[in-house]
């Protein structure tokens, strides 16, 4: 466990840069786990830049206060690069909060900043409490007395806001789901405590196979709950839609049409969109984040290859993929290649653009005859089509004609409705802190399940307790009291 907390410090919304701040005694260690010095490593491009830096000796720990470093953020587990970044190092007490701090500046895309924060959390930081940076800044003497009350108001305001959210969640399925997992854990823990506290009673023999079964049960329930985080994210941040397709298929035009303004540079030169471009729009009151990608065309141009890499990342993060084809952009075989490469578990809407062109009719015929019979979309991919039960792909549109996008919009809204409203078992998880607690509990439980046969009883009991305590944070339960109550209500022991 590291002692550091992290949050995105720049306000939400479209901006050129975003800053992720990590503070606390282990902030520099977290920095080293997510930040690599030097140029981002992208396949062959690496060779261009090879030999420029010796990465081994570069470390955030070695940076002086106020020193900046250029490099890139990586996923701490897979080393997969996320984005180029500048890291600024602060040494206690010379920082905003007075603690060791790193500030990582990344490009402003919502996706990049969220992934960077996620990387920091994965590396062992916890997400900051409401007002925590300001509070600690004050406690460490970085703000003057006059600001004290403002700080308290800030905490109160943040707290009441998150309390409102929490209340909302507790009335929903979250508390029920966490409660049900905790009940399983409490039942196991009470049996362990019984054999520890009353070793001489006949009840206190452990039924180990049953305990193992219940650990596995809790583990899988926890995993289901954890996956519900996506829904919550969609509710909060809106749905992320990635536009994918060959250069010049009209992705930028679609984006512009949907947003009603000229955002990206639309030309007839293939590959103009060199970077992922994001746009937050509202469709029928639903927040939707559209991400225009550089396309998936393999290229020798290093810059364009960087774009392709980004496209792949975008697809991974997106909630919905809109794949766009158009006449005279690529061969049918090329289309088939990238369509088949799309993730099978992600909702997909296929659109054929430029229906206003005279060559479209032939092209469409060709798609239906030569391509469709060979394609196999999964149920997950076809969820939008299933919900509406309408036209089999592709949808025919023209970004030049008003009204032609109505069906596409309807599909996106349908998907949001399907996900955004919780089903009977579905639980929506909107708080990152709740997610944080769930991830920690779920990881710990996984370790326990793996080692269960070799764990001495005292360690087993203590490890389960720490899992339960993570979960109890979410619903405000007191683990020790709950377990002791359970011991005495279930078992008849005592002199």
């Amino acid at each position: 466990m590291f002692d550091a907390y992290a949050a995105i410090s720049t306000p939400p919304g479209q901006s050129g840069l975003a800053v992720i701040r990590v503070a606390g005694p282990d902030a520099h260690t977290i920095g080293d786990r997510v930040f690599r010095f030097g140029t981002m490593n992208i396949g062959n491009v690496n060779e261009i830049n090879s030999g420029t830096v010796d990465r081994a000796i570069r470390s955030v720990q070695n940076l002086a206060g106020y020193q900046a470093a250029f490099g890139y953020v990586v996923d701490p587990d897979t080393e997969e690069p996320i984005d180029e970044a500048v890291l600024l190092c602060f040494r206690a007490p010379h920082s905003f909060t007075g603690e060791d701090t790193v500030e990582i500046s990344v490009h402003g895309g919502g996706q990049v900043r969220r992934r960077t924060l996620a990387a920091c959390l994965q590396a062992g930081a916890r997400s900051a409490e409401p007002g925590e940076f300001t509070k600690n800044a004050f406690l460490n003497g970085k703000l003057d007395l006059a600001q004290a009350e403002a700080v308290m108001e800030l905490i109160e305001a943040d707290t009441s806001r998150s309390a409102a959210v929490a209340l909302h969640q507790l009335q929903g399925g979250l508390s029920k789901a966490v409660r049900s997992i905790l009940d399983v854990l409490y039942s196991i823990m009470s049996e362990l405590e019984l054999t520890i506290e009353y070793p001489e009673y006949e009840d206190s023999e452990l039924d180990f196979p049953s305990i193992k079964r219940r650990v596995d049960q809790a583990k899988s329930e926890l995993e289901i709950l954890r996956s519900g985080y996506r829904q919550g994210r969609i509710l909060r941040h809106g749905m992320t839609v990635a536009l994918v397709g060959p250069p010049n298929a009209g992705k930028s035009s679609l984006l512009n049409r949907l947003s009603g303004e000229e955002r990206s540079i639309v030309t007839d030169v293939p590959g103009t969109t060199r970077d992922t471009i994001e746009l937050d729009i509202e469709l029928d009151g639903i927040p939707v984040r559209l991400i225009d990608t550089a396309g998936l065309r393999e290229s020798m141009d290093p810059i364009e290859r960087l774009g392709v890499k980004r496209t792949k990342d975008t697809i991974k993060q997106a909630d919905l993929i809109v794949g766009m084809v158009a006449p005279e952009t690529e061969t049918i075989d090329d289309t088939r290649l990238w369509l088949e490469a799309l993730p099978q578990d992600k909702p997909f809407i296929w659109v054929a653009n430029k229906s206003d062109r005279k060559e479209f009719a032939d092209y469409f015929q060709q798609l239906k005859a030569d391509l469709l019979p060979h394609l196999h979309f999964s149920d997950a991919q076809m969820i939008c089509h299933d919900i509406l039960g309408e036209t089999y792909p592709p949808l025919v549109i023209s970004t030049r004609k008003a009204g032609s996008l109505n069906l596409l919009k309807k599909y996106i809204v349908a998907l949001y409705d399907a996900w955004g409203s919780p089903s009977e078992e579905g639980v929506i998880l909107t708080s990152e802190r709740h997610y944080d607690a769930l991830v920690k509990a779920s990881n710990q439980l996984e370790f326990i399940a793996e080692d269960i046969d070799g764990l001495p009883l005292d360690i087993f009991a203590q490890s389960l307790k720490s899992v339960a305590e993570q979960l109890a944070l979410i619903i405000g339960d007191k683990v020790t009291d709950a377990v002791i109550d359970e011991v005495f209500s279930r078992f008849c022991v005592g002199k």
Binding site: M1, K135, L139, L145, I155, V483, I484, K495
Partner: protein, 696 residues
């Protein structure tokens, strides 16, 4: 007139009410005495004798000679202060009126801690042990607990003799009836006894156990009585209330005692102790004398459907269900009728028949605790296998008594409202001899330190079970008699019975509780242990053929390269002992040291993780809250939080965070409020709270 010493220093004559005994009211007292006519009616009988005698001045007065009182008195005297210890009957000092054993799960840890701090319970229990078991010996070191069956008469005699030898410690058989409190400042000044003697001290420890307003209930019969048919303390409770002290009513119970000669042990299962008995006290560790003492067995039996029918048919006669008992009983100590009602589907309940001493055949029947009428208890007893003809020597009973709300106490066990008044033991809402003794020790030490103007002595939750016990009591309170359980300790992996001396003896020595002889022996042991740990971490084992064969033989994998001995010990299939053949340099060490080395190596990773959590915990414990801090001055703090904080008076932000009804957001606001307060008090600098403390 004030501060007279010696017994029976006659007063000016006449009578006066209790407040007039107060030193600070001496002048008005004299006037009243001369006026003579203001004599209260109830004292009119004594008009010809002096109203009170001066019993003398002491540093500390301890009321009650149970485990809390005895431990408190011993600690006070050991610190060099003078103490008088009052008991209503000195033949029942350190009595074990319920179960005839000391230790057990979590309680054994408490005894080890008391011992490590130089207390008396462990070392004297070792002398009176008639059976010893290390509970949970196969379940991991963090949950192992020593427990001993105790010869109760011998234990009582040992404690009495031990205390009698301590200079500055006076034992006195006299019933304390009144606490003398200076009324305006609410400061303790002494006590007054049934014999009309006034003893003066600025510190009084109330350790009255279950005696205050005590009542025994057996079936339809009830009568005022302390445990074991001792006199109850009927006046002191009333007097404490008159000083504005809140009291709650608890209940507990005990089973019948029977004559072993009437028990058919031939058809019962024998439960012997460990073949090699251990000890509680560090001083007796590895002493072969304790391992060869003859041990007395316990016997096992079970209730059966007949037992259950008898109880069910007579439930209407149980005072528990007829409403005659108002006190709240402990869930972990249910009476047998309670078990039948709460677990109707169970076919049998376990019964342990335990010896109470070497010179007596009287047996304690654990599992048959009951407040049923005599005839029902008898019938129930005789329905149990092996007890068909058992002869009862003492009936089981329920007992009700008054006790404090422990949330009215601070972590030093001093009362919030009355300065100089301390509570220790069952009066604080606990149950158990060990819990009582632990509190006695802490209250005693703090009374002396407060007298001398020294900093309070507080063990936190990461240092000792004693710390968990007291923090739970004064922070959360309790709605039933509180029993220590290992599950209550967050840092169970570091709070082990095997390392109690490592955790606490150094602290005890610095306080003056641990004598130099013990301290020297402790240092020797620790040094040897540390040296061996270091050696084991350095010794390298090479992947030879014999090592490989040995490892495969023990169900583990052969070595690829050389490793340290410590790394091999960590493998689940191996330990320190079995690896001896490959460790020719191994020095001659005591069994205890070898065991500790093994535990510390095997659990290294887990202990390190827990140590990390402890460091986190300590941060908040170090953030102190000023005494009598006005929470109203913090804008934004919720009303409920203000009320709770003002009532419990936490001493640190950490303690505040454990109060029920105080949320993490309240704590964040509190931290900011405290910092603002600190800066207002010293506007020029901006040190944080922590630094400020270290500067103090």
């Amino acid at each position: 007139m004030p501060n007279t010493t010696g017994l029976a220093n006659e007063c000016l004559g006449g009578t006066m009410d209790i407040n007039s005994v107060s030193n600070s009211n001496i002048e008005s007292e004299t006037e009243r005495v001369e006026a003579g006519k203001k004599m209260p009616a109830e004292q009119s009988l004594s008009h010809s004798v002096p109203s009170y005698f001066e019993g003398g001045q002491y540093d500390v007065i301890v009321i009650g000679t149970g485990h809390a009182g005895c431990e408190a008195a011993a600690a006070i005297a050991r610190l060099g202060a003078s103490v008088i210890l009052f008991g209503m009957n000195l033949d029942t000092m350190a009595n074990l009126p319920c179960n005839p054993n000391i230790g057990g799960t979590a309680k054994g840890q408490l005894v080890r801690e008391i011992d490590a701090l130089g207390g008396i319970m462990g070392v004297l229990a070792d002398e009176a042990t008639i059976q010893f078991r290390m509970l949970n010996s196969s379940k991991g070191p963090a949950v192992q607990s020593p427990r001993a069956q105790i010869d109760r008469r011998r234990y009582q005699a040992l404690v009495k003799a031990y205390l009698e030898k301590i200079p500055n410690l006076h034992i006195r058989q006299e019933e304390v009836t009144e606490l003398i409190v200076e009324p305006s400042k609410k400061v303790v000044e002494g006590v007054r006894t049934r014999l009309n003697v006034v003893y003066r001290a600025s510190k009084v420890i109330v350790a009255t156990g279950t005696y205050l307003d005590a009542r025994i209930i057996i079936g339809e019969t009830d009568f005022p009585s302390g445990p074991d048919n001792q006199f109850p303390a009927l006046d002191l409770g009333k007097n404490l209330r008159s000083h504005g002290i809140r009291m709650q009513r608890f209940k507990t119970g005990t089973p019948v005692r029977i004559n072993l000669n009437s028990v058919n042990t031939e058809i019962l299962e024998e439960q012997p102790g460990d073949p090699l008995p251990g000890t509680f006290s560090f001083l007796n560790e590895d002493d072969p004398a304790y391992q060869s003492k003859p041990m007395i067995p316990c016997w096992l039996s079970w209730t059966n459907p007949t037992t259950h029918s008898i109880l069910e048919n007579n439930l209407s006669r149980s005072p528990l269900y007829s409403g005659d008992i108002e006190g709240i009983g402990p869930r972990y100590c249910p009476s047998v009728e309670d078990k039948i009602v709460r677990f109707p589907n169970r076919e049998r309940h376990q019964i342990f028949i335990e010896p109470t001493g070497e010179d007596t055949s009287e047996m304690y029947v654990q599992g048959l605790s009951s407040s049923m009428p005599v005839d029902v208890q008898t019938e129930v007893l005789h329905s149990v296998k092996g007890l068909e003809n058992a002869v009862i020597q003492r009936m089981g009973y329920a007992i009700e008594y008054d006790c404090f709300f422990p949330t009215d106490l601070s972590l030093t066990l001093e009362h919030h409202d009355i300065k100089g008044l301390y509570g220790a033991g069952q009066i604080n809402g606990t149950s158990g001899y060990e819990e009582a003794a632990a509190q006695g020790l802490i209250a005693g030490v703090n009374a002396v330190r407060s007298l001398r103007g020294e900093a309070p002595f507080i063990l936190d939750r990461s240092q000792a079970y004693i710390g968990v016990l007291i923090d739970d009591l004064v922070t959360k309170g309790t709605s039933e008699p509180y029993r220590m359980m290992t599950a209550r300790a967050e840092y169970r992996l570091v709070l082990r019975q095997d390392n109690a001396d490592e955790r606490l003896t150094e602290i005890g020595y610095e306080l003056g509780l641990v004598d130099p002889v013990r301290y020297h022996r402790f240092k020797e042991k620790i040094n040897a242990q540390q040296a061996e740990l270091k050696r084991v971490r350095g010794v390298r084992i090479r992947p030879t053929e014999s090592v490989g064969a040995f490892l495969i033989d023990h169900g583990t994998t052969p070595l690829k390269g050389s490793v340290t001995l410590a790394e091999l010990i960590k493998r689940p299939q191996l330990d320190y002992e079995v690896l001896a053949p490959f460790d020719p340099e191994r020095p001659e060490l005591s069994e205890i040291i070898r065991r500790n080395v093994n535990i510390q190596i095997k659990y290294e990773g887990y202990i390190e993780m827990e140590a990390d959590r402890v460091r986190q915990f300590k941060k908040m414990e170090r953030k102190r809250i000023p005494k009598d801090f006005d929470y109203q001055t913090i804008p934004g703090l919720r009303l409920e939080a203000i009320q709770k904080l003002a009532a419990i008076k936490p001493e640190s932000v950490g303690q505040a965070s454990r109060i029920s009804g105080v949320s993490p957001a309240d704590i964040a606001v509190l931290l900011v409020g405290l910092e603002a307060f600190n800066r207002r008090s010293r506007p020029t600098d901006s040190l944080d709270i922590e630094e400020q403390i270290s500067n103090e």
